[in-house]
């Protein structure tokens, strides 16, 4: 009996809810989408008490001259409890309404094109069953913007980090800074010395990428240091390349290294040579060089892919000392397994500082370390704030979390 009463009560309640009449969307606003590349309008309106899965919203748009909302084209239709401001990836400093408001972007779609500088009429309709209630028709025009304010946090962080690096460099010029030992780099001299003793060449690879990639630049910088020592010890240097521009740059670097070592006459133009840009053809050629010339030391610096193991395993079979340095994290296991020493990730960037001991380079390392400490602290603080926000339901942690978020 009790169950039956409850069921009837429930049915009465749901019927009553279904009969709640919908009203026109309130406080609607239409404007050019801020911080975008144009071609888009933003429509916002306040949430209603009847918002739910049964009621639906329609966003309509059309020519600016149209005043009757029913004559506009439906460009989006969705349940009343969806499409909120909070769903958009924006920060609090760019938000102009509460997160609970509805928000839809009007963009070009099949049969409806949104062009910059042209005015469009936009309306929102609330729909439930046969009922359809329109908001007023508003007019706006899209235009592209010159700054994405959502990325302001990113810009501030980048500039601060840049400032930090330059401050650290100037600090390093004035103070002595301790540099942790990098065993892989200590082995560079040992490897070159061994090659000299055996009268065999040194093989140096700069990786798969061109000079767009910082890891290739780091590899080229280290090449300068290695070439200088090779010149001092009068040991042959072989640098096969996958990219012609990198080859040309490395030729210059090597030439300079020989000049600085006081052995310009030993410099050979064809120490740096191009093989091919193709991954496995290059690998086959370098493997061939390893097997024929049997270099005593192999250096693998820069970015690598599946060829890494094919190169290092062949090198290991010839008995060469192998030193790798890469930021290609997916290839690290192969290098660690098959090489005598591996510079892991940022150690590749630290290598030139370690080898040269120049204040500019050491200062950069200091800046990076402070940067890492900041990132670590941000992760820690972020975890605490996000947890507090989730547990208490408080909104204030979001003010801080947005500062650390990747916003578009």
């Amino acid at each position: 009996m009790v169950v039956w009463t409850l069921l009837v009560f429930g049915w009465l309640c749901s019927s009553a809810l279904a009969q709640i009449s919908i009203s026109a969307p309130q406080d609607m606003r239409v404007f050019d989408t801020p911080s975008d590349g144009g071609g888009s309008l933003t429509v916002q309106w306040a949430p209603s008490s009847w918002d739910g899965p049964d009621a639906r919203y329609q966003v309509l748009a059309g020519d600016a001259a149209v005043t009757d909302p029913a004559a506009l084209t439906i460009i989006a239709e969705f349940p009343g409890n969806s499409k909120y401001v909070k769903d958009a990836k924006t920060a609090w400093w760019t938000r102009n309404v509460d997160k609970t408001w509805h928000q839809v972007l009007v963009r070009s779609a099949k049969g409806f094109e949104v062009k910059d500088g042209i005015f469009y009429a936009v309306a929102v309709a609330a729909v439930q069953g046969d009922q359809r209630v329109f908001s007023q028709v508003l007019v706006a025009s899209p235009s592209p913007d010159w700054f994405n304010w959502n990325q302001l946090n990113n810009l501030i962080i980048a500039l601060s980090f840049g400032g930090l690096v330059f401050y650290s460099i100037s600090y390093a010029k004035r103070h002595e800074i301790f540099l942790r030992r990098i065993p892989g780099l200590d082995a560079v001299d040992e490897a070159i010395g061994r090659a000299t003793e055996l009268g065999k060449p040194i093989l140096y690879l700069t990786g798969a990428h061109d000079l767009h990639d910082p890891s290739t630049i780091a590899a080229a910088v280290i090449l300068g240091k290695v070439a200088k020592r090779a010149a001092l010890y009068e040991t042959e240097l072989l640098v096969p390349h996958r990219e012609p521009i990198t080859m040309a740059v490395c030729q210059e670097i090597t030439k300079q290294a020989y000049l600085e070592a006081g052995k310009p006459d030993l410099f050979k133009e064809d120490a740096n040579f191009f093989i091919t840009a193709d991954q496995f053809s290059y690998t086959a050629a370098v493997d061939g060089i390893m097997l024929r010339k049997k270099p005593a030391a192999n250096f693998f610096m820069g970015a690598y892919f599946a060829e890494s193991l094919l190169l290092t395993e062949t090198g290991a079979s010839t008995g060469a000392i192998q030193i790798a340095g890469t930021d290609s994290d997916h290839q690290l296991p192969f290098f660690v397994t098959t090489c005598d020493y591996t510079l892991i990730g940022e150690e590749l960037y630290a290598a030139s500082a370690y080898l040269s001991k120049e204040p500019v380079q050491i200062g950069t390392l200091l800046g990076q370390d402070i940067g890492k400490a900041v990132v670590l602290s941000a992760i820690g603080i972020g975890i605490v704030l996000a947890t507090v926000g989730a547990v208490t339901g408080a909104q204030w942690p979001q003010l801080f979390l947005d500062l650390l978020r990747d916003l578009k």
Binding site: S35, D36, G37, G38, P144, D145, W146, F147, N148, Q151, N154, A158, F161, G162, V165, F166, L211, P214, I217, V221, G224, H241, P244, I245, M247, A248, V249, Q251, E252, I253, K255, Q256, D270, F273, F274, I275, T276, A277, T283, G288, A306, L309, L310, T312, E313, A316, D327, D329, T337, T338, G345, E346, L348, Y349, A350, V360, T364, Q368, G371, V375
Partner: protein, 216 residues
């Protein structure tokens, strides 16, 4: 001369570096257009640079053939292969098939390049095994942890492993999703900071060794 070799390249680096760093924050189509145009220029410069590379390659092997160095026959193969492929490619307009019929260029692609590349990639499996046998030893506590993790992941990624140890699938998935992801993120953060610092130094001319020519 010093202006052309030093100051001008550094000035170009400063201006373009700042311009393209700023581009990231500008959503205007003009900024995107600038990025696309610059990338196209790079492609064109890259195309010319290829001439530099090919010249180096030909020169290197021509010297080997002339001096009849050990393995000069391979250099001859390179000349024949390269010139032959270029000639066939030009002849067939770079098409591998015309109306369903395979061209000579298609034949080279399908019956030479595909199997040769496949072979090189397949060697990986053999090398992984020999490298693992030679180096994967529990020399320390850390190495032992790595060893156990590797065995679990290897078991969990194949049906037979999951069949023999049903839990290995879930454990390997956890290792990949949680431990592996967090470690890689840590490496990525370090690498990214290093890359950003290097970029700043290059843009502002603090790091110049990539230009060659040393310090003035």
């Amino acid at each position: 001369m010093i202006f052309l070799r030093r100051q001008l390249p550094l000035l170009i680096t400063l201006v373009t570096g700042l311009l393209f760093a700023a581009q990231y924050y500008v959503p205007h189509p003009a900024s995107e257009q600038m990025l696309t145009s610059a990338t196209k220029w790079l492609q064109i410069v890259g195309g010319f640079a290829l001439i530099l590379g090919v010249t180096s390659l030909f020169h290197q092997h021509a010297v080997k053939i002339r001096r009849q160095e050990a393995g000069w026959g391979y250099s001859l193969v390179l000349y024949v292969g390269m010139l032959g492929t270029i000639a066939v490619g030009l002849w067939t307009n770079g098409k591998e098939s015309v109306e369903g019929t395979m061209t000579a260029f298609g034949w080279i692609y399908n019956y030479m390049m595909v199997p040769l590349q496949g072979t090189m990639f397949a060697i990986l499996a053999f090398f992984i095994a020999s490298a693992a046998y030679r180096s994967f030893r529990a020399k320390s506590r850390e190495a032992a942890v790595l060893l156990v993790a590797a065995v679990i992941v290897m078991m969990g990624r194949v049906p037979l492993g999951e069949y023999l140890i049903p839990l290995s699938g879930d454990v390997s998935s956890w290792i990949l999703n949680v431990l592996n992801s967090s470690v890689r993120r840590a490496i990525l953060i370090g690498v990214s900071l290093g890359a950003v610092a290097l970029s700043f130094k290059i843009i502002f001319g603090v790091e110049r060794s990539y230009l060659g020519g040393g310090k003035e």
